[in-house]
């Protein structure tokens, strides 16, 4: 097979003058080819552009140089490290970290070749929101969020974002407008160029896809299209976009037999998630200012993860303060585990639940680095469950009779109704 670079070929890093030896061809896209390569003993990935693509995208070189100078927004990006060139060859490419084998594509998720738990899946969604927040906060725009550019570890929910060569300063004119099905309607119609707000729309689509395994605009209207061609796509995603769960307009509702995933998952998630998706694809469809920002996604997704609990059958369900549901897996009435009410949110206290500084310290929102508390079992009495203090500070607990006790580090408090725990600057109440 003819590829642009051959194995054992050496190319050079522009910045470091490092020599990179090509190992194997990994894949090709519309812009170029990706190879596995090594420098000294370190494996990297190298993307090498098609000559015709370089001609079409005049800003590519400058854009990559800017990205390399700015550096990666966080560790979740397979960010360009340096440009690579070859003597006597006008072509170029860039070096990026190599994706580890435990990362699967979102396509694998869609095709059910990767089966993360709800916990890992929501963690992946959360990390995506955080990484795009970092990118946007740097004044950059990604321009092409879609499921070919994101990878995730089905066990942990860690994510990697690749194809960062389209990233540019927000508002810059670029070569890429996005990927159909993910582009904001104003982009599909050609009314506006990509920007941070259109990235936010694409992010909402991607999150919906990941959580529901379905596109939020593919309902009755999609079902009525025989040949799904360009004009059909333009209508569905551009000129007549309508959310399949639009509360005001059911003309694009999911069709049983065709859009079953959407129906199954929509019912399964709690109301607060449905509400935020509804806003994303009703007001957010028409008005760029109505789009859900990453910070709101972070809060919602953390709450969603905290509301997970196990049915006796093993099925994972979500606690929904607004409705009582049966388990989706065994259809029996759900029995709730003890839970912790922290301000307006509820954390389910499952056998494997851990609390982090995010939960226990007002000043450390979004800090999930080390567990501060964990559900455990009484060493002598396996029927007694407790919450163990894994922090360095003592907790003050108030019992229903208003007596006060201290829970020193490593000690546990009984999971009994009516106990309130003061972690320091946050007080939480145990409900059973």
């Amino acid at each position: 097979m003819s590829t642009l670079l051959q194995s054992e070929q050496i190319i050079y890093g522009d910045l470091t003058q490092q020599s990179y030896t090509i190992d194997t061809f990994l894949g090709a896209g519309t812009q170029g080819e990706v190879y596995r390569a090594h420098a000294n003993d370190k494996a990297v990935a190298i993307k090498w552009y098609f000559p015709h693509y370089i001609q079409n995208d005049q800003q590519l070189h400058q854009r990559l140089e800017n990205a390399i100078r700015k550096g990666s927004p966080d560790n979740n990006f397979l960010w360009p490290l340096e440009l690579v060139t070859q003597p006597n060859n006008a072509g170029f490419g860039y070096v990026m970290p190599l994706r580890a084998a435990n990362f699967k594509s979102i396509v694998d998720l869609m095709r059910r070749r990767a089966e993360p738990s709800f916990y890992a899946l929501i963690s992946a969604c959360l990390q995506l929101s955080e990484s795009f927040l970092q990118l946007h906060a740097k004044g950059l725009c990604y321009r092409d969020i879609n499921f070919n550019n994101v990878f995730f570890d089905p066990d942990t929910g860690d994510i990697l974002i690749c194809d960062n060569d389209n990233v540019d300063v927000n508002g810059a004119t670029g070569a890429i407008n996005g990927t159909p099905r993910f582009m904001a309607p104003e982009l599909v119609r050609g009314d506006a160029p990509p920007n941070t707000e259109s990235d936010l729309f694409s992010l909402s689509i991607l999150l919906f896809y990941m959580l529901m395994l379905h596109h939020p605009l593919e309902g009755k209207k999609e079902a009525s299209i025989r040949c799904f061609d360009q004009s059909a796509m333009n209508r569905l995603y551009g000129t007549e976009p309508l959310f399949i769960f639009d509360p005001q307009d059911s003309s694009n509702a999911p069709v049983v037999g065709l859009h079953d995933n959407a129906l199954v998952y929509w019912a399964l998630y709690p109301q607060f998630l449905r509400d935020v998706f509804t806003r994303a694809f009703t007001t957010g469809i028409k008005d760029q200012h109505g789009r859900i920002r990453e910070n709101e996604w972070r809060v919602i997704l953390i709450n969603l993860r905290d509301s997970l609990f196990y049915c006796r059958c093993g099925g994972q369900n979500f606690y929904d303060a607004d409705t009582v549901k049966n388990c989706w897996a065994c259809n029996k009435a759900l029995i709730y585990p003890p839970r912790l009410r922290i301000n307006n949110t509820v954390v389910m206290l499952n056998h494997d639940t851990k609390l982090y500084a995010h939960h226990t310290d007002q000043s450390q929102k979004f800090n999930f680095s080390t567990p501060q508390a964990a559900v455990n079992r009484h060493p002598q009495d396996p029927n007694r469950w407790g919450l163990q203090n894994l922090s360095n500070n003592a907790w003050t607990i108030t019992l229903p009779d208003n007596s006060v006790k201290i829970v020193d580090p490593q000690r546990s408090v009984n999971l009994a109704a009516g106990i309130s725990i003061n972690f320091g600057n946050i007080t939480a109440e145990i409900c059973v």
Binding site: P51, E115, N148, N177, L213, R226, Q230, V264
Partner: protein, 234 residues
């Protein structure tokens, strides 16, 4: 606790995409040309399967028609791409290209096609001039709604090919027939048609500005005959 149960639901909903090879097996293809075509198609199977596996929007089904004196199904049953195999073609006879289009048209009839589909892809490979009524064949194809909606690619082998006929078949002035003057180009073009075009017809990749935008779906730029030579770039 019991083992964690998988999340509910099935794979993401998708649509079938019907892909047709239309291969010229006339006498002039005898020898090297037909063997090069066989090789190029076999070479494209794995990349085609890879593209399909990475595309959750489509279920790719492959069929093939051969034409020389008359036209016949080479692969009659719509075959899932994962199971697609290529039996070598042999060459002999005249170039009844029109009949091949008739044959494709029959299968693109509304009665033969599933209710909901992605645009079908037809790839026509030939080295010469049609010897039968090409226009009647094309008219039959275009009389079918699925024929009209199809994405059509024409690949010419050698210098005797009638590019005008291929252009008529393509029916989109922005997509030009590809002319392969050597085995290497043929491999490249066949691969392009079976991967890039396949992808474009189902889940278009990142939209590059200024790419061909009319037609049923946007067709990305085809590889040039000597894409690798750096001197061509600047």
């Amino acid at each position: 606790m019991t083992d964690i149960i998988k999340r509910p639901g099935g794979a993401m909903a998708n649509r079938p995409l019907h892909f047709f090879w239309l291969a010229d097996c006339s006498g002039s293809m005898y020898g090297e040309k037909i063997e090069q075509l066989n090789y190029a198609i076999r070479n494209a199977i794995k990349p085609m399967q890879d593209v399909a596996a990475d595309n959750p929007n489509a279920q790719v089904m492959v069929r093939a028609i051969k034409f020389s004196t008359g036209a016949q199904w080479h692969i009659a049953a719509a075959t899932p791409v994962e199971e697609f195999k290529w039996d070598n073609l042999t060459a002999n006879g005249v170039t009844d290209m029109g009949l091949a289009l008739q044959l494709a048209a029959e299968q693109l009839d509304v009665s033969q096609m599933p209710e909901r589909c992605l645009p079908p892809v037809l790839v026509l490979v030939s080295d010469g001039q049609p010897t039968d009524d090409f226009n009647a064949g094309l008219a039959a194809l275009m009389s079918k709604p699925w024929g009209k909606k199809s994405v059509r690619i024409g690949i010419g082998i050698g210098s005797d090919v009638d590019l005008e006929v291929l252009q008529k078949f393509i029916g989109n002035p922005e997509v030009k027939p590809l002319q392969a003057n050597n085995a290497e180009d043929l491999v490249k073009y066949i691969r392009w048609a079976s991967t890039v075009v396949l992808q474009a017809a189902s889940a278009p990749a990142s939209q590059v500005k200024d790419q061909v935008s009319t037609g049923v779906v946007p067709i990305p730029q085809a590889p040039t005959a000597s894409d690798i030579d750096a001197d061509d770039v600047w």
